[in-house]
Symmetry: C3
Subunit: 350 residues, 3 copies
């Protein structure tokens, strides 16, 4: 937003802030404290940035009560500066929306139903029976399969693919290259090879879900793959068939969740983690990046498994030792036993 | 399949089953034992589901001889219920196929050769010299490069890309976003930077191969990248240049196979595994998920390397200790030596 | 290249080689030493291939001074045979280029600026304000977003997506399915869910960059994501928001680099590595495949962390022991103490 902007009092009202300073100041955008100019607002959430706060030229700063006195410019005092920043940034920098209407190069089936204000971009395809909710935007080159249900106010960036029969709730953001509803990886072994097991379920995605570029969510084998409300999924994540992800869980990039696993709500899953199939992870679990989960996690808490990078020579020795760990334990046990025996029955002196 | 269906005797004949019960019963679909109604067939393969078998309302159940007496409804007795289920499910739930013909928005080169019954979807591109076998379906937005050979009865879902010169056998299923034949990752270092090494090989894919969404198979540097018959590859898998994968090997999601590695036939590779370059893995090897393979595996068997997730405090301590493992071994050795010495020459009592 | 070719003296001049043999011999292509015929050139860089050199039927071989005497055919003597091979291979096997011009099915905004010799393929989309440099090729189905800047002589293979406002330098190669500029993964937690943090930065990519199939580079939150000159990125790599990658760094497949991390120049990052957010890696660092980096790496050198695959029984025991490592250290310490005590004060003999 370059023109117009909002007065500080409007922004204070938006996020329920206490305003200290000039309520008529006009703010047109957000910026980092160090870069912000007089028509921009920044936020201050960590004392690590004390210096930037002291010298900021921002038009206003979002911060907590306890830091308000240190603010050299207008302040909006809130409980959670980063959350308030997110809300204000969305107001001041709304996404550019494509104009409603169907681009002449798009291919929309005669019996697809587009609600008011829907935009279908160039080269996009909307197949038979699909229903797109009000205000949703289908980007260039997207393919919306037969009988897909898409809620209102969704944004499919360029090149998203929804297989037939999948459903997505309201306010979804699906980034480029996302694939929803490809066949789950199901094959029955036989003497002549692996026989395909048809994947007859679907994918059901709740409201307010965002999915990062090139992530894939497979359709269920018999039941559906289910993603709860408010789930956020990063890039290049693979979610296998019949997985269920609870509301407000976030999953960072390059993570894989194997088939039929159930993940609770409000979990945080670090990048490049791998969660095995057919397990359950309870609500509120945090999993560090690069962690392998092979068993149910029944208790809230933080879990991890990755080894830290070491200089290669040290690593080489230690990993060899790792493969001898069982042996090491047995030797330790033998030593403990020998020492106990030695204490009880010391050898005669020679 | 909702209408029509098959009689139980037809299904018994299809899978070579012994039929117990009403051979004229009509089955229209498959379902899980617990959900199946009288016109559906389920399967019973594990005693874990004994309860569901006892109370099922399915029209028929596929099961082994030893469980037939416990079946309260019609039974099809087979050696491998899951495999028989897969075959029956494919019969009762065939994939919806696009009608043959070239969509008016598709761009097909004048000298591309489309066999009988080929379907080319909206916004697809088939370049010069490509040859598509009978009954194959090119989904919306696919790009089939110059001189590509595609066998019969293949299905390219929406948005598959085949680079020039690649070949794919019969009955292939390539899911959305699959990329076949991008340049392998080959660069020669020099003082001014990395110089591209042209990737002059191709990708050759056998018959009956399925490849999951957004997986990538790079073309060879000089020789070809080769995928055997019946190979099944999951989503987001990366197969580098010059890799060879033997027949009927399955590779789960997010796995990476580095350049010039050869993998045998009938291997099973778990999700998010990493296999280094220039090694050989023999036939019949199973690799657990999240496993790193850095050396040849010459013996059939199961291999693994991932660490299990631990509560984060415990993990933090243990990983620090991991980086001290070599030291720990040295200390253990010293202790063993000291104890031996002590036994031989006990100190005088003070 | 089948016709024409180059004389050996032309090739010698191209790479600054000393020519031994027939300077008028014509070379039309490159090949492996073992397969090369009299009109092809190969290279010899490792004594592992001594046998192939001795028996080669190649028209010429690129090799070092010290091996020239062992060469049975024409030789081009250079300091770095592989680098010279790369340059010659690029000359003899140039990429097939699409003819300049805009395909009639492409959609190019009226105010997009296409320089001389630009090719826009079928079904591609170039949005408003985009500027494409001379000789660049936009492949079939690509989407070039609003105000994107693309340098000269770039190649976007089929199905590349550039979000609005990103910039790419000269000579870029972006493979199919690459996504540049999707929103970074930024959300502020609140009691009702995660609130989107608008991603207002961009992605700036230098000159001579190659990015592999289906890799994703997210736009910055406030600052930009920046990729230096000469960087080479393999397939299925995820680079998060605000990451900075220095010149001539190479990143192998399936690696993830988390947000706001800075990587130096001339680094080599192995496949399926994971680099955590908000850290710095200095110039010239090599990271082995499947390595997790969780802290700054301030010193040049090679780092690693993966465990090697073991037979599953051995692995099972060792990983259990891994979770007891801290306990093992404590027991070892206790033993050392006890032994010291025992030496000082041996028990009385019973």
């Amino acid at each position: 937003m370059k023109e117009g902007g909002r007065t500080l009092s409007e922004l204070a009202a938006l996020v329920g802030a206490e305003l200290r300073g000039d309520s008529t100041a006009t703010i047109t955008g957000v910026a980092a404290l160090g870069q912000a100019g007089p028509d921009q607002i920044g936020f201050y959430a960590s004392t690590r940035y004390r210096e930037q706060l002291a010298t900021t030229r921002a038009g206003a700063v979002l911060l907590k009560q306890e830091h308000a006195d240190a603010c050299p410019v207008n302040a909006l005092v809130v409980d959670d500066p980063y959350h308030a920043y997110a809300r204000i940034a969305c107001q001041l920098h709304p996404r550019d929306r494509a104009a409603p209407g169907v681009h002449p190069t798009a291919v929309v089936a005669a019996d697809a139903v587009l609600a008011d204000g829907v935009s279908v971009g160039p080269q996009a395809v909307v197949e038979s029976g699909a229903r797109i909710g009000p205000g949703s935007e289908i980007g260039p080159g997207c393919v919306v399969g037969r009988d897909v249900r898409l809620g209102e106010n969704c944004w499919l960036a360029a090149g998203v693919r929804l297989y037939p029969g999948c459903s997505v709730g309201d306010n979804a953001i699906l980034h480029s290259g996302v694939v929803i509803g490809a066949d789950g990886f199901g094959f029955a072994p036989g003497p002549e090879g692996w026989h395909k097991v048809p994947q007859l379920g679907s994918v059901r995605i709740g409201n307010d879900v965002e999915i990062g570029a090139n992530s894939t969510l497979d359709r269920g084998a018999l039941a559906d793959t289910v993603i709860g409300d408010g789930v956020k999924i990063d890039n290049l994540v693979h979610i296998a068939h019949n997985v269920r992800v609870g509301a407000h869980t976030v999953i960072a990039g390059c993570t894989v969740i194997a088939g039929s696993t159930t993940i609770g709500s409000w979990c945080v899953i670090g990048g490049q983690s791998a969660i095995t199939g057919h397990i359950e992870i309870t609500d509120g679990v945090t999993i560090s990046g690069m962690t392998g989960v092979t068993k149910n996690l029944d208790k809230k808490g933080v879990y991890a498994s990755p080894l830290p990078a070491q200089p290669v020579r040290q690593w080489r020795k230690n990993t060899v030792r790792f493969t001898q760990l069982e042996d090491l334990f047995q030797r330790l046990k033998a030593l403990e036993k020998a020492l106990t025996a030695l204490r009880a029955h010391p050898p005669e002196q020679s």
